[in-house]
């Protein structure tokens, strides 16, 4: 089974049997926790690869704790806490949704997330725990995607 293993430095792909423990497969350090992608809480310490079998994508994040994400839009800032394995795509759903800035549906589709002060695109499958690096917080801007003219 193919597993995407993300952490504070990036990600890699490993192949593993469903009976293997995620701790062994990921090489997680003692004290580290393992989150399924987009999950709010970590998996059990002895969880095996098999717990990922019914998910669309077998992806995990090896980290220490939750990430507090703040997003700034039109001069206002909102914050929410996510599991470190939360994809940037899911954070975008929160930021544009009713718990975030409640952007009207059509307008929300035009918005993208960028690291605060940056214009570089973010891969939608990037985990917030990777973007936060060794930290516990992540600051983002919610802004309209580039419009190319001229």
């Amino acid at each position: 089974m193919r597993i995407y293993v993300h952490d504070s430095e990036g990600n890699r792909v490993v192949e593993a049997d469903e009976a293997a423990t995620l701790a062994d497969v990921t090489g997680a350090d003692a004290g580290a926790k393992i989150w399924a992608e987009d999950a709010a809480e970590p998996l059990a310490a002895d969880a095996t690869v098999g717990v990922l079998a019914d998910r669309d994508v077998a992806a995990v994040h090896v980290g220490k704790g939750h990430i507090t994400v703040s997003a700034t839009y039109a001069g206002a800032t909102k914050s929410e806490t996510f599991g470190p394995g939360t994809k940037i795509d899911k954070v975008l759903d929160w930021a544009t949704g009713k718990d975030g800035f409640n952007v009207p549906e059509g307008d929300g589709d035009d918005l993208v997330l960028r690291l605060k002060g940056s214009t570089d695109p973010l891969d939608p499958d990037t985990h917030v725990g990777t973007l936060a690096g060794k930290g516990e917080t992540l600051a983002l801007d919610l802004l309209p995607g580039d419009k190319f003219a001229g």
Binding site: Y4, V13, D56, D109, R114, P121, D125, D146, F148
Partner: protein, 160 residues
């Protein structure tokens, strides 16, 4: 195998491409030398085909066009995604003069006439660190904003 094709093949085998496939962002339909065709997931369950010509890759950006997967031919203009950012990127009055190219900085035909884009859009400058995945992600971002054609009109066209 020429260097551009070799570089393309290496990138098509990358974890980033595979991750996009596994997450349902896109599907690699076929590759013929430096021509590669993808099926991209768009809004409301619609699939949009794109074909990229990667001549000179990665030294120069690919050039692309919307592609009908069932017909293995350019997508008829009537079916081009429109609305939001798609209206500018898939602009028939401009694109049809340049082989259907995408009006954005990751298309070499568009880039040729727009040296100012590098300054205006520093987050979207094509360089040797960019790959076909960056093109696919930008297309995905643009397609999120498209409002037409609807999936129904596409299905009717494909069924006819």
């Amino acid at each position: 195998m020429n260097p551009d094709e070799k570089a393309l093949v290496e990138d098509l085998e990358s974890d980033r491409v595979m991750s996009g496939v596994d997450r349902g962002y896109w599907r690699l339909v076929t590759r013929d030398g430096i021509l590669v065709t993808f099926d991209l997931a768009a809004k409301n369950g619609r699939q949009v085909g794109v074909r990229l010509d990667c001549t000179g890759y990665p030294g120069v950006a690919p050039t692309g066009q919307l592609w009908s997967i069932p017909d293995d031919a350019p997508l008829p203009v009537a079916l081009w995604p429109q609305g939001g950012r798609a209206t500018a990127v898939f602009n028939p009055s401009w694109s049809t003069q340049f082989g259907g190219a995408f009006y954005f900085p990751y298309d070499r035909r568009a880039l040729d006439g727009h040296p100012g884009w590098a300054t205006a859009h520093p987050g979207h400058v094509w360089d040797l660190d960019k790959t076909v995945v960056d093109v696919l992600y930008l297309l995905r971002e643009v397609l999120r904003t498209a409002t037409i054609p609807t999936i129904d009109s596409t299905r009717q066209e494909e069924a006819s």
